[in-house]
Symmetry: C2
Subunit: 146 residues, 2 copies
């Protein structure tokens, strides 16, 4: 059976929805290795009172714990928002195989830095379920303002 | 009583020495708030099997847990090596008041990025106990090769 990038991003989006329901900025992430999900996480900066508790950081740490390996060369990280520099730095250290993100983050996304931040071997794919993620984020900030 | 930057960096260096003794790349960090140390940590990437377990990340998380606050505007982070992009990103999110580092990291340090990575309000001081930190790192990599 073949699972598409859209399929796994859909699961990351459900993680983002769980963040939304808890009043966290809705970002979700999953790590997939050989078509199997080995880690799921959503942003918990408010709940954990920890600015480093982004969905990607939690998912990367959970994935390495699961594998018992420090590197994620054969894994794909799906995340609903373009990673920030902190998360991109962590992705670099993990030597991630593939990074797939949905919505872009024009303000704090790692692509705002002109230099390459990712590991040279990391394949980058963007825009998968972009509109769904953007809508969720828009709804969150709209709700926050009212 | 007045404690100098050298005093607190000396404590960060002792953390780095603990990393050294455990076979970790010797980097140590302390967070100081109103002349009181509220967090100490050293690099534990090997022990925790986690590429995100840099001294700075562990110290920042411990500091926010201690304070019960997400931001470290009135705190100083002392770290024995120039932070990488991941750690600089975390430092950005924490809105740290002052960052003091010892040795520079010409390869993976955040200053290799041309753009400003730190929060505009974060004061940056470098080179405090630089030689001591460099020597510890040199000894570590020399030992690793033999």
């Amino acid at each position: 059976m073949f699972f598409s990038d859209e399929y796994f991003m859909g699961i990351a989006l459900r993680q983002a929805e769980m963040a939304f329901e808890e009043g966290e900025i809705p970002v979700g992430a999953v790590v997939v290795c050989q078509e199997r999900i080995i880690a799921k996480a959503y942003n918990q900066t408010e709940r954990l009172n920890d600015v480093t508790a982004h969905a990607e950081m939690l998912a990367l740490t959970a994935a390495t714990q699961y594998l018992g390996a420090k590197y994620l060369k054969d894994c794909t990280l799906y995340v609903t928002l373009e990673p920030c520099l902190m998360c991109a730095g962590a992705i670099y250290w993990s030597q991630l195989g593939r990074l797939v993100f949905a919505a872009s983050d024009d303000k704090r996304g790692f692509e705002n830095v002109k230099q390459t931040v990712l590991h040279p071997k990391t394949i980058l794919i963007k825009g998968v379920l972009q509109h769904e993620s953007e809508e969720l984020l828009r709804n969150f900030f709209k709700k926050l303002r009212t």
